[in-house]
């Protein structure tokens, strides 16, 4: 069947002469609308109330349905698909439990502005409100976690609702839209004409270009600044403004810091790109933000994980904030110039007139901080002198990511779960292209990694895709391994297994006096588990084994692969800004000298346990919270 013929051709006559309408069932209309929106894959799980649509799907082979093993997997896969391509991802589920299982994935997409459309079956119109079997008020449940949602009341409004849903999902600040379709609406028939006129929603008009006066004010602030810094977020890549961002940085000579989701907004190989900011961002980046006299925030939202204590955040700076969502301006941080608009357009406007400024002293200052940071670096080339904190013969999670970066040539699309491995990814896997890191930043959804990676790989079969997950998050959605096998998805899964819920353990170590409650994990044999699914798997316990394992995985071009990296149990992600602390009040990994001094002091203290410790306490508040242990 070619692209322009559909199952409906046979019935064109039934609608009567003189009209373009064909008579279709509601279920067929859903499929027709999906095709016209450019959908090629639907991730979903069938059930009673959505069965008519599943039946209609048999007439639309262009719509490939992927059967997930849980509806949460479907919404994460649709999200991964959307983030890898910028296209709208589609998830489908039945009413009641099917719909509620989508919820975590919808909330994840909402927090990270990912365009997905979820289609749920609903009990028949007449039964709504009667607590019918598998009835749930899914539009009510998802009200605060969707950009918009619809309960379709009649077949007549179905085409328009479907079209609006995709339009709203993908335009402006993208986000999830849910369409709830009662079973009788799916079964009924009506004449179908796909509306051709442009969508006009009186209450929905995404902004485009900025007002000239705001652009002037922004240029003035840039001109007057001596220590400017760009804070680039997810919005840069979503607007496709990556080239404009690089040009702005180069033309005005401004260093660029990235948010977690901003990774890929600018190549991390670019000399003006500083890397990630925030709770686990580079110390030099956070220092630079705190000492800047101008923040230029582009498509980011001053999340608490990037600002730390708002009262002391970048206190001496003026601030420019560009975002497509007006409600983000002055939400967390009060700014001097707020510009609402599409980033690509706004950056284009700025670029026309922005000037180059001499600010070498500023770059020198940042370089000093960076040199200081490098002293503390724990991941070093195998043949270089190692940091004394590296335990003999142990593999570190950070090393795994660094080596994965190297052995994949830095070109893979990586999809992470949530936790320590996610932060190591952000620190050690340097991204060059937009949409090459897919991670749950806003909601921090454990279990996101494996299904989102499957969605991403299906969206971009030409791309090497790695799911980097922890042993905790992996076990939240590991049933989707079966989906990957059934669909022969060539996704590579790297489990960073430390036998702990590592990030929570780290918090317990720092802030709860090492009471490791509910964080140690007794895990299954992940390689045998993979084998049970028919997935080739290998276990890596030493750094020297990483290269071969990665190479073997990359050489496998059909179906999924899995590598279990058994890493040091009590490794810590440094630096760390404790929640609510000042952004530059970071817990740092000790330098080799500090580490050795600490070790000697400990040894001495062990010999004379009664002697009171006369340790000088020059450390800031955050480090004081660290307690006695000086871990990896």
């Amino acid at each position: 069947m070619s692209d322009d013929t559909t199952a409906t051709d046979g019935r064109r006559e039934e609608a009567g002469a003189g009209t373009d309408a064909v008579v279709l069932t509601g279920a067929e209309i859903v499929c027709e609308c999906l095709l016209r929106e450019g959908v090629d894959i639907v991730f979903g799980y069938p059930g009673g109330a959505i069965l008519p649509t599943y039946d209609a799907l048999t007439k639309y082979p262009q719509l490939h349905h992927v059967l997930t093993r849980h509806e949460q997997g479907a919404s994460h896969m649709a999200d991964g698909y959307a983030r890898a391509t910028g296209k709208v991802g589609v998830a489908m589920a039945t009413s009641g439990p099917g719909a509620t299982n989508l919820v975590t994935g919808i909330a994840t997409a909402m927090m990270d502005s990912s365009p997905i459309v979820c289609i749920t079956g609903q009990v028949p119109t007449g039964a709504i409100g009667s607590d019918a079997f598998q009835e749930t008020d899914v539009t009510g449940i998802t009200l605060p976690i969707t950009k918009h949602n619809y309960l379709v009341r009649s077949i007549e409004e179905l085409p328009e609702v479907m079209r609006e849903a995709f339009h709203i999902a993908r335009t402006g600040r993208p986000g999830p839209v849910l369409v709830d379709i009662p079973k009788d609406v799916q079964i009924e028939s009506a004449g179908f004409v796909y509306p051709s006129e442009p969508i006009e929603l009186p209450g929905y008009r995404p902004p485009r270009a900025a007002r000239a006066r705001q652009v002037d004010s922004a240029l003035e602030l840039i001109r007057d600044s001596k220590r400017p810094i760009v804070l680039a977020g997810h919005g840069v890549s979503m607007a496709g403004a990556n080239a404009e961002l690089a040009q702005l940085a180069e033309k005005a000579r401004i260093p660029v810091a990235l948010t977690l989701l901003g990774k890929g907004a600018m190549s991390e190989r670019h000399p003006l790109c500083l890397g990630m900011m925030g709770m686990h961002g580079g110390a030099e980046v956070n220092h630079a933000i705190q000492e800047a006299d101008l923040l230029i925030a582009l498509g980011m939202r001053f999340d608490d994980r990037v600002t730390g204590n708002l009262a002391t955040y970048a206190r001496n700076s003026r601030k420019i904030h560009v975002d497509i969502d007006p409600s983000e301006i002055n939400k967390n941080v009060t700014v001097d110039v707020g510009i609402v608009g599409d980033l690509r357009e706004v950056l284009g406007q700025l670029l026309e007139r922005v000037e180059r400024r001499p600010n070498q002293a500023w770059f020198d200052r940042i370089a000093e901080w960076r040199t200081e940071s490098e002293l503390r670096e724990i991941v070093r080339p195998v043949d270089a002198p190692q940091h004394p904190a590296v335990p003999e013969g142990k593999l570190l999670g950070a090393q795994v990511i660094r080596d994965l970066f190297e052995f994949t040539g830095g070109g893979a699309v990586t999809v992470t779960d949530v936790g320590q491995h996610q932060m190591w990814e952000a620190q050690y896997y340097h991204h060059e292209r937009p949409h090459s890191l897919i991670t749950s930043g806003g909601l921090g959804t454990m279990g996101f990694g494996v299904p989102a990676a499957i969605g991403a790989k299906m969206a971009r079969p030409d791309q090497e895709v790695w799911a980097i997950v922890g042993d905790g998050g992996f076990q939240m959605t590991l049933m989707e391994l079966a989906t990957a096998v059934q669909e022969r998805v060539n996704v590579h899964i790297a489990i960073i297994n430390n036998g702990f819920l590592g990030m929570v353990r780290q918090w317990q170590e720092f802030f709860y006096e090492e009471r490791y409650n509910a964080t140690p994990m007794v895990n299954p044999d992940f390689c045998k588990l993979a084998e049970a699914y028919g997935i080739p798997a290998v276990r890596v316990t030493e750094r020297g084994e990483i290269e071969d394992a990665v190479r073997a995985a990359r050489e496998t071009t059909a179906g999924p692969t899995l590598i279990e990296f058994v890493v040091e149990k009590e490794e810590i992600v440094y630096p760390m800004v404790p929640a609510g602390a000042d952004l530059d009040d970071m817990i740092r990994r000790p330098t080799p000298e500090e580490f050795e001094r600490k070790r000697r002091e400990r040894a001495a203290a062990a010999q004379a346990p009664e002697a009171p410790s006369a340790e000088p306490e020059e450390a800031p508040a955050a480090a004081a919270a660290l307690g006695s242990r000086f871990g990896v």
Partner: protein, 181 residues
């Protein structure tokens, strides 16, 4: 802190009130009053939202209202010359001895008595919030048996109207549906 009156034009679709109410709850906005009703156009309803807050908070509410797809226009009437009214129905205890006193008060406030029984009167009073408060304070000593207020409604004076340009009723959509509630 000041009183902010937000006149909000919304599409007349099912669930709009729930969306707006959910926004108040979700983002912890404290609302003094909310009144909803039809407008001169079938496809639209108008909500009048009153909040006591600083202007940054009011701005935040306006922006978040605009994020709702069904919200067409929000006007901050605070900054416009406008007429503001609220209505109350007050059932006041009034026996044959003191009925005359209550009626006198009503006259002064240009309130109307719309029901009389042996023990009480129902008074209809319209005006700005302040007038209603003042009136209820004065009749309180007689005994207020029951009272209901509509919440504030407001219109800009003269040429100032809520923008609804660009609004084209959706074919067959609005007509098929009853109202925002």
């Amino acid at each position: 802190m000041a009183k902010h009156i937000l006149a909000t034009l919304v599409e007349n679709r099912p669930g709009v009130l729930a969306r707006v109410a959910n926004l108040f709850r979700r983002r912890s906005f404290n609302i003094d009053s909310l009144s909803v009703g039809r407008t001169q156009r079938d496809e639209m309803s108008r909500m009048t939202i009153v909040m006591e807050s600083d202007s940054a908070e009011a701005d935040r509410l306006v922006k978040n209202l605009y994020k709702l797809v069904d919200v067409v226009h929000v006007d901050h009437l605070h900054s416009q010359p406008s007429v503001v009214r609220e209505m109350a129905l007050v059932k006041v205890k009034a026996s044959s001895e003191n009925r005359r006193e209550v009626i006198q008060l009503c006259d002064i406030f240009r309130a109307r008595i719309i029901d009389v029984s042996a023990e009480s009167l129902v008074v209809e009073i319209t005006g700005e919030e302040e007038k209603l408060e003042h009136f209820t304070e004065l009749v309180r000593p007689f005994g207020i048996v029951e009272m209901v207020r509509t919440g504030v409604i407001a219109l800009g004076r003269g040429g100032h109207t809520l923008k609804d340009e660009g609004f084209k009723p959706n074919r067959g959509r609005a007509a098929a549906q009853s109202n925002v509630l």
